[in-house]
């Protein structure tokens, strides 16, 4: 087989541990800190592949868009935007928790 570039598991767990250590950043005012990752076209439009955003506790995944670095936040979210939380697909209304990793995704075009 060609060189394997991804272990099917392991890297995600390590990331969650790292994020957990940062979760103390949540302040007493009911705000949470989540890690955001972007890929492909969204990554290029944002100019970053990772960001940390602070949101009110209980915010849904869909609230991440407006907290992204400009210029993305100032634009309307794409109709086809999808979300993953901690490496699993998630409904846009899913409440976020402190230390979550959220990925915003446009439909894939693999194959």
């Amino acid at each position: 087989m060609g060189r394997r570039v991804v272990a099917a598991s392991g890297t995600g767990g390590a990331q969650r541990v790292a994020l957990g250590r940062e979760s103390g950043e949540a302040d007493d005012a009911g705000r949470i800190s989540v890690a955001v990752r972007l890929f492909a076209e969204l990554r290029e439009r944002a100019g970053v592949d990772r960001a940390r955003v602070t949101l009110p506790d209980g915010s849904p995944a869909s609230a991440v868009w407006a907290a992204l670095p400009s210029p993305l936040a100032g634009q309307a979210p794409p109709r086809s935007l999808a979300f993953a939380i901690n490496h699993a697909w998630a409904h846009p209304a899913t409440p976020l928790h402190d230390g979550d990793e959220v990925v915003l995704l446009l439909p894939g075009s693999g194959g």
Binding site: R4, A40, G108
Partner: protein, 135 residues
Amino acid sequence: MIRLVSGPIDVAGLISAVADPEHGGTALFLGTTRRETERRAVRGLEYEAYEELAVSEMEAVAREAERRHGARLAIVHRLGTVPAGEATVGVAASSRHRDGAFAAAREAIDELKARVPIWKLNVYADGGREWSRGS
């Protein structure tokens, strides 16, 4: 076998991964970069994945096709730069009979394209670049 790889796809390895003495049919699908898309010459494609979720979705796609068709599946997708004419994705499926093997391979590649978070950047010979939009 479910893998994301950075180099050429090992087709013989893909086929041997689904070998089963109870299975009388094996189907192989290879997706290959075309030299031209919408009449614009392509220099190559660049693939990028949300790797953690891509691997788990590829595993789910394979398990579902295996269950539905009594098949064994292997799926490999290449990441990074793929020159025109080389394979970007390979699906091998074996089953007791050819119908199950063909159906499982067809279903797996269709599902992969619909739900696995991998994106394709077209790099054109004229220097232009453009992300393919999924559906």
